[in-house]
């Protein structure tokens, strides 16, 4: 609102340029951290999209993430199917799975949605660890190699992998942000706030929710592609409850109802984890305290806290032009009122 369209575009371009420049200016180690944040970021994004737009918490997003990873692993290591078929099939199957499970879970609300997704998520996990002839059980599948794109091996060059992933990461964010702003997104918001009213107005409530669920699964499965390619392996842990809960925690830490919060939370969690564990063995304690502080003092997560800081700063420097109450916390969200 305070920004004109031109300065907004300028900000986006500059930050994009900075992100693209990372492989040339930063160390391999830093690039690796960014890659990691991005694929887990996509997983968290899918969870936060559901939480923000449908108002439900899913504990099976990692299943979609893992399914695309597993399909890549199996097709590439067992049948030597060349890129780009495995990731496309992987994403396709994950979306199909979402279409099936969506039928089961989409009518549930609140805690029942949570429980249903938990059960389905654990089902996928059990399948991954028990169906050993296909998934190799707990040992998992290794030897997945990242593809060659435009003649550059993303397996050998971390920078190339980073750029490859960054492209899809930005596309996913754009996709979700556009979805939120579209009539579809507004309808979802209406359903979240008052389902009965939307139903009365003649909107196909269940269908809309169902589609949102599938979109979220689609985003998570893209994350899974990069996970499998970057780590070069997949095992049941990637679809386990731990992964699901960690995703939820990153969402809460960053601010679960916003896209920006999802990315921020993942970045904080994953980077802190790495940095702290190098310093002390008691790093989980520090993380725990951090969560406590977040939930007590910034219930809207780090993104919410940042937003509050920024608002305070803006109102002080720009005078009375402080934003009005009804503005969403989401930096990607443009108020349409």
């Amino acid at each position: 609102m305070q920004f004109s369209n031109i300065s907004k575009i300028a900000v986006v371009l500059v930050s994009l340029a900075l992100l693209i420049a990372v492989p040339w200016i930063a160390s391999d180690y830093f690039v690796m951290m960014c890659i990691r944040v991005m694929y887990f970021g996509m997983l968290t994004l899918s969870l936060c999209f559901l939480a923000g737009e449908l108002g439900v918490v899913s504990l099976m997003q990692a299943s979609f993430f893992g399914i695309s990873g597993y399909f890549i692993a199996i097709m590439q290591t067992r049948y030597q199917i060349p890129f780009p078929i495995p990731p496309l099939v992987g994403i396709g199957v994950a979306v199909l799975f979402a279409a099936l499970t969506g039928l089961l879970v989409i009518r549930a609300r609140g805690i029942y949605f949570l429980m249903l997704t938990l059960v389905l998520g654990q089902l996928v996990w059990a399948l991954a660890s028990q169906w050993a002839s296909v998934t190799r059980g707990d040992s998992g599948i290794t030897d997945i190699f990242a593809p060659v794109i435009f003649g550059i091996s993303t397996e050998k060059s971390k920078g190339a992998f980073y750029l490859f992933e960054l492209f899809f990461f930005c596309a996913v964010i754009y996709f979700l942000a556009a979805l939120k702003r579209s009539p579809f997104g507004l309808m979802l918001r209406g359903i979240r706030d008052s389902e009965s009213r939307m139903a009365m107005l003649g909107y196909p409530v269940s269908l809309l929710r169902y589609m949102a669920f599938i979109f979220a699964a689609f985003v998570a499965s893209i994350g899974g592609v990069f996970f499998a390619y970057f780590t070069g392996l997949i095992n049941p842990h990637s679809v386990s409850l731990t992964t699901n809960v960690e995703t939820l925690l990153s969402g809460i830490l960053g601010g679960i109802q916003t896209l920006f919060g999802a990315i921020l939370g993942t970045a904080i969690l994953k980077i802190l984890d790495l940095v702290l564990s190098g310093i002390t063995q008691r790093y989980l304690l520090i993380m725990g305290v951090l969560f406590l502080i977040t939930i007590m003092f910034a219930p809207r997560g780090a993104a919410g806290a940042l937003k509050r800081l920024w608002d305070g700063f803006a109102s002080r420097t720009l005078g009375s032009g402080s934003p009005a109450g009804g503005v969403s916390d989401d930096p990607f969200y443009e108020d349409t009122k």
């Binding site: 180690y29 028990q130 059980g137 998992g140 780590t231 392996l233 842990h237 790495l274 190098g278 063995q281």
Partner: protein, 447 residues
């Protein structure tokens, strides 16, 4: 002229400083990274290994020929994605010369995959036991001074069939890949040496209520001779307790155990109910050798408890590394040389608490396997060796047909088959008719 000589002098001095600095860089310190789960459910495996590593380094005063050794410890949380990231950290951030770890099965598989992509970092595997780390996936830079799941239990199957004289055995175990491998190794040893049938019962990994299984075992007792417990941790404790409660100790002889069942930390939990349990491993705590006594006493002094086989793994890894460093005069910067030296290491009975061992061409130890029995000695429960099989490789009795062994299908929860007829059909298919003939002629394996 004057200026020219000045320039030369300065160049020479700079060159020297550079050379010295370069040298100083090389011999500054030896950096060792350790990796393993030190938080979460698997802490016992990661921490045990780490304790062993620290104990061994302490014996060398944390230095090698006056060069200090710096240890970087990383936690995997038993998650392979985290582990890969930490391995990258150790390599890129800390620039370690050697990595010791990991300790869990799936971690080991992921580590060897990482090793294949980063062949310039030597890695010593800790407690991880999947055979593929040093078999189908073996890579030059990954060396395992440990064990494979099947390696330690082949002979136990043989012992159960020949020495204990059992014909039909039930295996009850947790439903995941490590127990599957244990069962597979046992079945091979058992059926090829006169055993007739092995029935596998799998229960969920976290199960603690075995009442339905106990009822089943009672019903099966008419046909079967013995039960082998193939679980770990809390499940073993619960199983032993319910075994007594349901009165199965009156129906069957004492439980047989997979390799991990009667390890030191378990014995204190199981108490007298573990008396007489047979199992097999490449280490036993009652080993009277000097190396083992020294290891146990110094471990007890440092940490207050007696060590497990898990700590032996970390302890041995450090000693293997030091032996290799001695052989190459501490040139750990030359990773090719270092890796080659590591693979050459031969440990004697005076150097390792487990006894002598050396590496096969896949870098897995060829070592003694002990059939052990839990006894009470000086008021404490202890494992005593009742039989020792020397120089057992990871291929066990198939050492001279390793290729065929590796080409055979991978172990699953019900492969290889548990009854004699279909098992022999399988081995005839994969190991050839001659092998089956030989087995029949020798009435099993030749010791």
């Amino acid at each position: 002229m004057k200026r020219k000589s000045w320039i030369i002098a300065i160049t020479v001095i700079l060159f020297f400083i550079g050379a010295i600095a370069g040298n100083a860089m090389a011999l500054d310190e030896i950096r060792i990274g350790t990796i393993g789960p030190t938080t979460g459910w698997a802490t016992i495996f990661g921490q045990g290994c780490l304790d062993g590593i620290k104990l061994a380094l302490g014996e060398y005063n944390n230095e090698f020929n006056g060069i200090p050794i710096k240890v970087f410890s990383e936690d995997t949380k038993a998650d392979v994605e985290v582990m890969r990231t930490k391995l990258d950290s150790l390599k890129n951030r800390d620039k370690v010369h050697l990595i010791i770890g990991p300790s869990l099965g799936h971690e080991g598989m992921a580590a060897v995959d990482w090793g294949a992509r980063n062949p310039e970092v030597p890695m010593l595997i800790g407690y991880s036991a999947p055979e593929d780390i040093t078999m189908r996936k073996a890579t030059n830079s990954v060396i395992r001074p440990g064990w494979t799941g099947a390696q330690v239990i082949f002979n136990f199957g043989q012992y159960s069939a020949k020495d204990l004289g059992y014909k039909k055995v039930i295996i009850v175990g947790q439903d995941y890949s490590y127990p599957w491998d244990q069962a597979a190794g046992f079945i091979r040893g058992f059926l090829e040496n006169g055993g007739e049938k092995v029935e596998r019962i799998w229960h969920p990994v976290e199960a603690v209520d075995f009442s339905s299984i106990m009822a089943k075992l009672i019903a099966m007792s008419k046909e079967y001779d013995a039960v082998l417990n193939n679980s770990g941790g809390a499940q073993v404790v619960a199983f032993f307790k319910q075994w007594k409660q349901f009165g199965l100790d009156k129906v069957y002889p004492q439980i047989l155990g997979q390799a991990n069942v009667p390890i030191v930390s378990m014995l204190s939990e199981l108490g007298d109910s573990a008396m007489g349990v047979y199992s097999s491993l490449h280490y036993y705590d009652g080993n009277p050798s000097g190396a083992n006594k020294k290891f146990r006493e110094s471990f007890k002094k440092k940490y207050g408890t007696y060590p497990d086989v898990i700590a032996v793994q970390g302890y041995d890894a450090v000693h293997v590394a030091f032996k290799a460093m001695k052989a190459i005069n501490g040139q750990v910067d030359d990773s090719k040389k270092f890796i080659a030296a590591l693979r050459q290491v031969k440990m004697s009975a005076d150097e390792s608490p487990r006894g002598p061992f050396y590496f096969d061409k896949f870098a897995n130890p060829v070592q003694n396997i002990y059939i052990k029995k839990v006894v009470k000695k000086e008021g404490r429960l202890m494992n005593e060796a009742v039989k020792t099989y020397t120089e057992v490789s990871q291929f066990g009795p198939y050492a001279d047909m390793a290729d065929k062994y590796m080409a055979a299908p991978a172990t699953t929860r019900d492969y290889p088959p548990g009854d004699k007829a279909s098992y022999f059909m399988e081995i005839e298919k994969h190991f050839g008719k001659d092998y089956v003939e030989k087995l029949k002629k020798n009435n099993g394996w030749v010791d």
